[in-house]
Every structure is written in C-alpha cells, then in structure tokens.
C-alpha cells in the first residue's frame, strides 16, 4: 500500500472497530435509523470539512468556517423571510457573497503574506459580527420550498431515512475527492502544501491557486450554511459556533497532515463519521455529566490519534521516517 494511504486505512479500521464495539454495547446503534442520522446530522459539518481538507492540504487553515455558516444562515433567512426572495435566488446570492468573502481572504493571505490562521481569524470575527449586526434574533424560514426539500427523504426499512442533505454531503465528498485527486487544481493544492517555493518554481500559479482554495473553502462553508438552514429552517447569528474546530478535527483524524501535502478527502469523511459516532455513543450512554462528556470526548480524541500513530508507525517501519516540522 502506498505510504500516504495508510493513515486513511488506519482511520477506517478504527472506525469499524469502534462502531462494532458500540453496537456490542448498544445493539440499537446498528440500525438504518442511526446510520441515516449519521449522514443527515453531520451533513453541514461534512460539507464544510471538505473545504477545510483543501485548505489544510495546501498547508493553511480556515478558522472562519463556522462563522460563515452562521452568516449564510442569517443572510438566506433575511433574503427569504424579509425580502421575499425565492430560496434558490437567496442561495445564489449567498454563494456569490461566500465566494467573494473567501476570495478576499485568499488575496490577503497571498499578497499581504499574513498567515492564514490570522486572516481567517479576522474573517471569523467579521462574518460573526456581520451576522449579529443584521439581526440578533433567530429568523425562521417558512417557505414551501423548505418543506419540499425536507420531505425529500428516502425511507429505509427499519425507520431509517436518507435525507436530501445527507445525500448532498455524499455528493460533495465525491466531487471533492475527484477535484483533489484527479484535476490539475488538486495537484496544485498538494504542491503548495508540499513546498510552496518548489511549487512556484515548477510553474504552479500560486496566487491564483491560493485564492481559489480559500474561495472553495468559503463556498463550501456557504453550502454548509445553506444546508444548516435547511436542517433548522432558520437563520441564527450564533449558529455553528466552533464548527471550524470540529472540521479541523475531522480532517486531521481522517489522516491529513496539518502541515499540508498529505491526505485524502475520503479520509475526512471517515473522520466526520468518527466524530459522529463518538457523540452518538455518548447520547446512547446517557449517564455522563456535562464535564464527563468533555473529558470523554478529549480522551477518545487522544486514543484515536495515538492509535492512528501506532498503526502508521507499525506499517511504515523500514521506510525513511517522513520529516516532521
């Protein structure tokens, strides 16, 4: 197996084992209902995490994701409920705004040579602040289009449901994987993450690629925001606080190196499902107090990371160790 495939494999194995153990303890976790919920409940996180994967592959980070989701929700809700837009028109506006926002961050990162961490932190403040300037309340969306979408459900035997947004997430993952692994743009992203100087000398259009990466991330965050608004039929400025950390965790658990250059979009999918599994397990358990919930999530995170390292180390002994920063 190619060296870079191993973390992906490791994560998938860990997920399978963890899921099997959970099912042993709570047999009802093995049901189409729970599996369907995995997709629906994590749809917005998954979509945002695809964008985050590209950013991290290129060696950057995007902290604005959660705020963009919140902002999009508010924007869409305002356009539909206050300004009377058709939802599809509102989505189009939101996507344009999101892309422009990401593009602006990309421009700042490239031309001001400021680390992405800081630029996107400012972006997070801006988007969150912008949303709460528009409104402080949560705005409900009562449009028949929303009802229609939420009725688009494939019912599975056993009470499970495949929702539109769950399937949308899967589609985004498949397209994301194709873009990352099978297009020139994808190879440029990996090139930037590997070594930006080499990439530039090899003729990678660094400025264009950087802008495109952050544009893509914000665009997908906007899609995630739209999905979130479909999920809750509302826009709320405080929605999705801290989702960027979940997205980063999912990407990293999925085997992508935060230093850039190595990783897989599909790994992120497994990462998202793993996070979902942990939460579902805790809900099924139902005895943990607030603080034990946090501690258990931390401990599980730690166990996953260590396990992954162990599998990675065991399978890669004999190679030269990859250089670490």
């Amino acid at each position: 197996m190619s060296r870079s495939l191993r973390p992906l494999f490791a994560t998938a194995v860990i997920f399978a084992i963890a899921y099997a153990l959970s099912v042993l303890q709570f047999p009802s976790m093995f049901s189409t209902r729970v599996l369907g919920n995995f997709l629906t409940d994590n749809a917005f996180l998954g979509i945002a995490a695809v964008g985050m994967t590209f950013v991290i592959l290129s060696g950057g980070i995007d902290l604005s994701v959660g705020a963009v989701i919140g902002f999009t929700g508010v924007l869409v809700a305002v356009l539909i409920s206050w300004a009377g837009f058709h939802p599809l028109a509102a989505f189009a506006v939101a996507l344009v705004v999101g892309a422009a926002f990401g593009g602006a961050m990309g421009l700042a990162i490239h031309f001001l040579q400021v680390p992405s961490f800081i630029v996107t932190l400012a972006g997070m403040f801006l988007a969150r602040g912008g949303a709460s300037v528009i409104t402080q309340d949560s705005i409900p969306i009562n449009h028949e289009f929303y009802g229609w979408i939420s009725d688009l459900i494939i019912r599975l035997p056993g009470g499970g449901r495949l929702s539109f947004i769950g399937l949308l997430m899967i589609a985004v993952f498949i397209i994301g994987a194709l873009v990352a692994h099978r297009t020139k743009f994808g190879s440029y992203v990996y090139a930037l993450g590997g070594n930006p100087v080499s990439a530039s000398l090899m003729g990678v259009p660094v400025a264009r690629t950087t802008v495109a990466i952050y544009m893509l991330s914000s665009l997908l965050a906007t899609v995630a925001g739209i999905v979130f608004s479909l999920y809750t039929s509302a826009g709320y400025p405080l929605a999705a606080v801290g989702v960027e950390l979940d997205a980063i965790s999912a990407v990293v658990i999925g085997g992508t190196l935060l230093t850039g250059g190595y990783g897989f979009v599909l790994g992120t999918f497994v990462g998202v499902m793993l996070l979902g599994l942990v939460q579902t397990y805790i809900i099924f358990d139902g005895t943990l107090s607030s603080w034990w919930t946090k501690i258990v999530i931390g401990v599980l995170l730690f166990l996953f990371i260590v396990l992954q390292r162990l599998i990675f180390a065991a399978s890669s002994s004999g190679d030269r160790a990859p250089e670490k920063g």
Binding site: F117, I118, W291, L301
Partner: protein
C-alpha cells in the same frame, strides 16, 4: 546603544499600540486620565494593563511554543483548571500558598503533557493540544462540580485585584514574568535553540540540540503561564468559573504573539513584543467598551483593527513606508 533603543521603539508593534490608544482617546477624551485613588492608580489606561495581563501572560508562554513551529490551544482550558484547583483548595481550608503551588504544578503538568504528545509521540501540535482544550474544561468543571467556587482568601484576591506601587498586581506579575522569561530565553542559549528547532528540527538534532527536552520545556512553560493567568482571573472575580474562565483566550494569545511579529511557521520570536501584542488587543477591547459602540459591532471593529495592524506589518507596507517595518529586528552591526 541609545540609537539602538530608539530604533527599537520605532517598531510597528509599538506604533500600532500608540495608534490604537490615540483612536481610543479620540473616541473617549478621558482615556488618558489617570487618578490616584485608594492607594492605586485608576483610569482606562490602567484598565488596559490590568485586563490585558492574562492574555499577555498566556502570550509569554505561547511565544516560545509558536517559535518551535507549534501552537498551544489548551491554555484557556488550563487557566480554568488552575483556577478551579486554587479555589477548591482554599475553600477546603488549605493555606493560599499551597493552593497556588498546587495550581501552578497542575498547569505545569498540563503543559508537560502537551509537550510529551508533541515531542515524544510526534503528534501535530494543534491536535495534541486540542485534546486538552476539549478535556481540560471538563476537568475544571469536574473539580468545581459545575459551581462557581467563590472564596474570600485574601492572598488569592490580592493576586487578582491587589496593587503594587499603585499598579494592578496582574500587570506587575505579567511584567515580571515577561522579564524573567525573556532573560531565560536571551541570557541562556534556550532562545536560540528554540528558534533552531522551529526552523529546522532535523538540522537541530544533528547539531546536538536536545529538541525533545526543549519542546517539553517550552510547552511546560506555556502551561505554567496559563496557570498563573488562571489564578489571576480567579482572584479577580473571587471565584473559579470553570465554564467561562479563559474561554477563547487561546485565540487572543496566538493573535498577540503573531501581532508581536512571530511567524506561525516558527523561528524568530520575541516575548516582549508578544506582550505588546496582547496589550494592543486589550486596548482595542477597552476602547470598544469606553467608546459606547453597540455590542453587535464589537467583532466587526476587532476584525477591522486586526486587518489594519496586519496591513501595517505586511511587506507591502514596508515597501511603501520609509521606516523599515519588519516584524523582528534585524540588527546590522558594522
């Protein structure tokens, strides 16, 4: 020598701090007014020092971590843990020095744990410290059992709200810590080694630098600083608020270090400038409070300020401006 000091003062961080203070002054004319009251100085400027101290202290620890190409996301949670430990111990009747020592030790242990994950298990710093960021707040709540543990211990309260020579104790602690840590880095070879490890860990190992020990130390120091900040914050409100103490302060601390000219890619770093960065952030916050902005605009104002500061520091600006605005000074002796 004097010329060097003067040039040091003309660095972008201090200019930015001055700029923010002047803007505050324009928005609120009483900003620079300082009075003497009850044996202490009193005024908005003093508030900036006092309120900025916890982030400044975090930044002191964070600077070294970032210089090694790492980052410590757990400091906010460690603050909560340290505060919780100190508060529960004094409430349980232990004398304050023991409570403080215990809190500091817990902070140190948290830091060393992070260091262990990063240096020995080779886990990427963001993820390694994310573990404690998530779990740490839970541990703090476990200690306080969700209560805000209120105390009346005079020593802890003095650490949080007392004053020394008229200055708030928190600011005094921050400044003393800054001097000590700067001496640690610059009067010994540790600072150079930290930079070397951050720039090229492989080469550092081949040059005989014990990078593991160094990383453990740097993260340990960060944990220790977080504990100090946690005790101060608890002392300030006379209670340990495990839910909210230090919440999101890790982002402010990282921001402070970056405003202070240290690259997130590791390498050259400056503790004093990171502290200046922390006070820039606090001056912004205080400015928003005294100027009477609607709270909805807080975040937007903050984003705008960050952007301005970054613009001043960017290479683009240094090409236009006559002063060479480079983050960390490049001495050119002849």
């Amino acid at each position: 020598m004097i010329r060097r000091t003067l040039r040091g003062l003309a660095n972008p961080q201090l200019l930015a701090l001055l700029g923010v203070l002047l803007i505050n002054w324009a928005l609120f004319p009483g900003f620079f007014r300082i009075t003497w009251q009850d044996g202490r100085l009193f005024g908005s400027l003093i508030d900036v020092l006092n309120r900025g101290a916890p982030v400044a202290i975090l930044a002191i620890g964070m600077a070294g971590v970032i210089a090694t190409k790492g980052v410590d996301l757990s400091v906010g949670a460690v603050m909560a843990v340290a505060g919780a430990v100190a508060a529960t111990l004094v409430v349980a009747g232990y004398p304050a020095p023991i409570a403080v020592a215990a809190a500091l030790s817990v902070g140190l242990i948290c830091g060393l744990w992070n260091g262990f994950l990063v240096a020995v298990l080779d886990i990427q710093p963001i993820v390694a410290t994310l573990v404690l960021m998530v779990a740490g707040r839970g541990i703090a709540q476990l200690i306080t059992e969700g209560f805000i543990v209120t105390f009346n211990d005079p020593v802890l309260i003095f650490i949080g709200t007392g004053s020394f020579l008229g200055l708030p104790m928190a600011a005094v602690i921050a400044l003393v810590l800054m001097v000590l840590v700067t001496l640690l880095y610059r009067r010994t070879a540790v600072g150079l080694f930290v930079e070397a490890v951050g720039i090229n860990r492989a080469a550092a190992s081949l040059s005989g630098i014990r990078s593991r020990m160094l990383l453990m130390m740097v993260y340990g120091l960060s944990g220790l600083c977080a504990a100090v900040a946690g005790i101060i914050v608890a002392g300030d409100i006379r209670g340990a608020d495990a839910n909210n103490a230090g919440l999101w302060l890790e982002l402010d601390a990282i921001l402070a270090v970056v405003i202070g000219g240290t690259s997130l890619l590791g390498g050259r770093f400056s503790v004093p400038l990171a502290v200046v960065g922390a006070f820039i952030i606090q001056a912004m916050n205080t400015g928003i409070l005294v100027s009477g902005f609607r709270p909805e605009f807080n975040l937007i104002v903050k984003a705008g300020m960050i952007f301005l500061i970054l613009l001043i520091q960017s290479p683009l600006a240094s090409r236009l401006a006559p002063v060479r605005l480079r983050p960390v000074k490049q001495a050119v002796p002849k």
